[in-house]
Amino acid sequence: MYEIVAFYLFSALTIGLFLVTVMSKNILYSMTSLASGMVLISGFFFILGADFLGVVQLIVYVGAIMALYSFAMMFFDATRDIKEKNTNNTLVFLLGGLTALVLVLMFAAPIYSENIQALYPMHEGVGNAQDVGIVLFTKYLVPFEVAALMLLVAMIAGIILAGKKMDESLTEDMSADDEIVRETEIEKDDK
C-alpha cells in the first residue's frame, strides 16, 4: 500500500522534475529540479530496501556532485536564461520517444525468469549496510580499490584543470597584460 503510493508519487515527481531539467531554459531551474529529482531517486532506493545506497545517493549525488555543479554555475549569471539554438527538435523527440518505446516494451513484457539464483543473498537480521560492506570488501574489493584510485586521479585532474591560472580573471582581457609584459621583457633585452 505504502509502496504503491510512494512509488507512483515518486515516479510522477521524478519524471516531472527531470523533464524540467531537460526542457528548462533556465539553468537554475534545471539544477534545482535535477537535485530534487535525485533526492526522490534516493526515495526509490529506500523503497527498494537499499538504505545504504539511498544514503550514498543523498550524500554523494545530492550533497557533493550537484553542489559541485552549482559551484561551477557561479561562473555564469544563473538568473538569466540560456540561449540555445535548437535545431531539429523532431529528430530529438523521435529518438527519445523511440528509445522510451522500445525500452518500455521490452521491460513491460514479463522478462524475469525463475532460474536466476541469488549470488549473495541478503541475510535476515543483518542491516543493508553490513551486507553491502561484506560484498563490497570481498567480491568487489578490486573494483572498489580501482574506483578509489579513479576518484583520486579525477580529483587531481580536476584540481589541475580548474586550478591552473586561478588568479586570472575570466572576463578581463589578459592579452593586453601579456603584451605589456612582453614589451618590458623586450626592453630588458635591449638593455
Partner: protein, 639 residues
C-alpha cells in the same frame, strides 16, 4: 650452497642491469669496475661450489620456481651443479672476469663503454643459465640468450660500413652479427626438434628423467634425437658446414672474441654433447657418435689448413679455435667425454689468453690485423709477447703446458678406438697447429720490423690489463698437471663419462706422445725457418705461390662462403624478389589497399557527419544506440 648458486647465476645479471642503467650515458669507468667485481663474485661463488663438490661430492640441485605449468607439461626453473656444470661455470666465470677487466682497458676509448659491459654481463648470465640449467628448456633459453648477446656484441660496432669481400676478407660487424645469428637459428631449429623428440617420447625435459628413460626408447627415436641435438651443437660450435660465421664474427671487439668465440659460447655445442652423454653413449647411436668424431677430425684438419695461409691475426686464432673445437668433438664422439671437457677447459684458458694478446697487438697497431704489416713487435710489447708465446706453445701442444696433456689425450683416444685414420689426421693437424700458431708469433713478434715504415707506433697495453691476463697465463701452463685429479673428480658422475685407455694403448702412450711432440716441433721449426729470421734470410712474399691453386683454395676458405653466396643467398634473394613483386605487392598489398580504399571512400562519403560539433556527434551516437536497441529488442522477440 643454494645461495651460492643464486649468486653465481644472478651476479652477472645484476651487473648487466646496473650497466644498462648507464647504457645511454657517457663512459663511466666505475660501470666497468662494478660489472667486473660482480662477475668476480660469480667466479668466487662458482669456485666455492667447485671446491665443495670436490670435497663432498654432493651435487646441488635446486628448483627456483615453477615456470611453465600447462596440463601435464611442467617445467621449472631448476638448476643443477654437478661436475660437468661446475667445470663450465668455473671456466666461464674465470675467463669472463679476466675479459671484463681486460675490456676496461681495451674499450677505454669507446663511446659505448657502458653499453658494452651491459651486453657482456648479460652474455655471462645467459651462459650461466645455459650451463646450470637442469632441463633442456632452460638450456635452450640460455642457448638463445647467448645467441642474442653474441649478436649484440659482434655487431657492437654496427656503425662500421659494409665492405665487399673482395676488398677485404673482413666484412662489416653488423653483417657478421646477422650471419652468426641466422646461421645459429638454422642450427637451433635442429636442436629444438631434438628437444621435441625427447619430450614427445619421454614426457619430460628434465635431464635425469629423460636419461633414465633412454633405454626404453626405440632406435629411430634415439638416432633422430641425437642427430637433431647435434645439429644444434654444430651451429653453436661452428662445425662444418655451418662454420663460416665464426671467422666473420671476428669483426666484434676482441674481448668478445676471447670470451664468446674462444672460451665459452662456441664450446656450448661440445657442452651439449657432453651433457647429453648418456644419449650419445647409447648403442643405437654409435653411428652418430662416430660421425661426430669424424666430423670433428675433419673440421680440425680443415680449419687448420685454412689457418696456414691466413694473414689476419684474429682470423688465425679463430681458425685455431675451430680446429680445437674439432678436437673436442672428436673426443666426445669417441666417447671420451671427460677428455673433451678437459680440453674444453684448457683450451678456454690458453685461447682466451691468445685472443687477449691478439687484442693487445690490435690495440697497439690501431686495429691493423695484417700480420705482414707487423714483425718484431717483441721489442715494444714484451709482456704481450710472453703471453702470446706461452699460449701458442700451449696450443701447439708442447709439454708441459696445458695443451699437450689434453690434446695428446684426445689423439691417444683416437688411437685407442682403433680409428687410425682419425688418429693420423689429428696428429697431422697437431703439426699444422704448431706451424700456423708459430707462424703468427714469428710474423708478428719476430723477424724484421715492417710497421715503422707504415707509420705505426705500437705501445704496450695498460699494466693492469697485463696483470689481469696473468691468471690465464698461469692456468695455460699448469692446467694440464691436474689432469689426473680432474679425472678422479669427474669420474664421480657415473660410468657414462668414464673412459679409460686400453692396456694396449697405455703401453704405447709415451711413443704416441712423442710422435705428437715431434710433429709439433717440426711445425715450429718450419715456421721459424720461414718467418722468424732477419736480414738476408728475411721472409719475402712469394707471388707465384700465392697464385697457386692450393693457396687460393685455402685463402678462399675452400670457396665455401662463395658457395653459400652463390647457391643459397642469391637464389633466396631471387625467390624473395619474386615473392615481393608478385605475391606481396600484387596480392597481399592489393587486398590491403582495396580494404583501405573502401574505408577511405566510405570516410569520404560520410565525412559530412564530422561537423566538429559535439552535439551532432551525440545525435549520431543516439541514432546508433537506438538502432542497436531496436535490433536487440527484435532479436529478443524472435529468439
Amino acid at each position: 650452497m643454494e645461495n651460492l648458486v643464486y649468486v653465481a647465476l644472478f651476479a652477472p645479471f645484476v651487473g648487466s642491469l646496473f650497466a644498462a642503467l648507464f647504457g645511454m650515458s657517457e663512459r663511466r669507468i666505475f660501470v666497468g669496475i662494478v660489472a667486473s667485481i660482480l662477475i668476480g663474485i660469480a667466479f668466487l661463488a662458482s669456485a666455492t661450489l667447485a671446491y665443495n663438490l670436490l670435497m663432498t661430492g654432493d651435487v646441488v640441485q635446486i628448483r627456483m620456481m615453477d615456470w611453465i605449468s600447462a596440463g601435464d607439461f611442467n617445467v621449472s626453473f631448476g638448476f643443477v651443479v654437478d661436475q660437468i656444470s661446475v667445470t663450465m661455470m668455473t671456466v666461464v666465470s674465470l675467463v669472463s672476469t679476466v675479459v671484463h677487466i681486460y675490456a676496461i682497458g681495451y674499450m677505454d676509448h669507446d663511446k659505448s663503454f657502458n653499453r658494452f659491459f651491459s651486453y657482456l654481463s648479460a652474455f655471462v648470465f645467459s651462459m650461466m643459465v645455459l650451463v646450470m640449467s637442469d632441463n633442456f628448456l632452460g638450456l635452450f633459453i640460455g642457448w638463445e640468450g647467448v645467441g642474442v648477446c653474441s649478436w649484440l656484441l659482434v655487431g657492437f660496432w654496427y656503425h662500421k660500413p659494409d665492405q665487399a669481400r673482395e676488398d677485404n676478407p673482413s666484412i662489416s660487424p653488423s653483417w657478421a652479427a646477422n650471419e652468426a645469428f641466422i646461421m645459429n637459428r638454422i642450427a637451433d631449429l635442429g636442436m629444438l626438434v631434438g628437444i621435441f623428440i625427447l619430450y614427445w617420447n619421454t614426457g619430460s625435459l628434465q635431464y635425469d628423467e629423460v636419461f633414465a628413460q633412454l633405454p626404453y626408447l626405440s632406435d629411430a627415436v634415439l638416432k633422430g634425437a641425437a642427430i637433431a641435438l647435434f645439429i644444434g651443437a654444430m651451429g653453436k660450435s661452428a662445425q662444418f658446414p655451418l662454420h663460416t660465421w665464426l671467422t666473420d664474427a671476428m669483426e666484434g671487439p676482441t674481448p668478445v672474441s676471447a670470451l664468446i668465440h674462444a672460451a665459452t659460447m662456441v664450446t656450448a655445442g661440445v657442452f651439449l654433447v657432453i651433457r647429453a652423454n648418456p644419449l650419445y653413449s647409447m648403442e643405437a647411436v654409435e653411428g652418430v657418435s662416430f660421425f661426430i668424431a669424424s666430423l670433428g677430425t675433419f673440421v680440425a684438419f680443415y680449419a687448420a689448413s685454412m689457418a696456414l695461409v691466413e694473414r689476419d691475426l684474429k682470423r688465425i686464432i679463430a681458425y685455431s679455435t675451430l680446429s680445437q673445437l674439432g678436437y673436442m668433438f672428436a673426443a666426445a664422439g669417441l666417447g671420451a667425454y671427460w677428455i673433451a671437457l678437459f680440453h674444453l677447459a684448457a683450451h678456454a684458458f690458453f685461447k682466451a689468453l691468445l685472443f687477449l694478446g691478439g687484442g693487445n697487438v690490435m690495440h697497439a697497431m690501431h686495429d691493423e690485423l695484417d700480420l705482414f704489416k707487423m714483425g718484431n713487435l717483441r721489442k715494444e710489447m714484451r709482456g704481450t709477447w710472453i703471453y702470446m708465446t706461452l699460449a701458442s706453445v700451449a696450443l701447439a701442444g708442447l709439454p708441459p703446458l696445458a695443451g699437450f696433456w689434453s690434446k695428446d689425450a684426445i689423439i691417444e683416444t683416437a688411437f685407442n678406438e682403433h680409428t687410425y685414420f682419425l688418429w693420423g689426421m689429428l696428429v697431422l693437424t697437431a703439426g699444422m697447429t704448431a706451424f700456423y700458431s708459430f707462424r703468427q708469433i714469428f710474423l708478428s713478434f719476430h723477424g724484421e720490423d715492417r710497421y715503422t715504415a707504415l707509420g705505426f707506433h705500437p705501445h704496450e697495453m695498460y699494466k693492469f690489463v697485463l696483470v689481469a691476463m696473468s691468471p690465464l697465463a698461469v692456468l695455460a701452463v699448469i692446467t694440464g698437471w691436474f689432469m689426473g685429479s680432474y679425472k678422479a673428480f669427474i669420474y664421480k658422475i657415473g660410468e657414462s663419462v668414464q673412459y679409460e685407455m686400453s692396456a694396449h694403448t697405455h703401453h704405447l702412450a709415451n711413443y704416441l706422445g712423442l710422435i705428437v711432440i715431434f710433429f709439433a716441433v717440426t711445425g715450429i721449426v718450419i715456421a721459424y725457418l720461414k718467418y722468424a729470421r732477419t736480414g738476408e734470410k728475411a721472409w719475402k712474399r712469394d707471388e707465384e705461390k700465392e697464385q697457386g691453386f692450393f693457396y687460393k683454395l685455402l685463402k678462399n676458405q675452400y670457396y665455401v662462403p662463395k658457395f653459400y653466396e652463390e647457391f643459397i643467398t642469391k637464389p633466396y634473394m631471387m625467390l624473395s624478389e619474386i615473392f615481393w613483386t608478385k605475391v606481396d605487392l600484387k596480392i597481399v598489398d592489393g587486398t590491403v589497399d582495396s580494404i583501405a580504399k573502401f574505408f577511405y571512400g566510405a570516410g569520404d562519403k560520410t565525412r559530412s557527419m564530422q561537423t566538429g560539433n559535439l552535439s551532432n556527434y551525440l545525435n549520431w551516437m543516439a541514432v546508433g544506440a537506438v538502432l542497436l536497441l531496436t535490433i536487440a529488442a527484435v532479436s529478443a522477440m524472435i529468439g
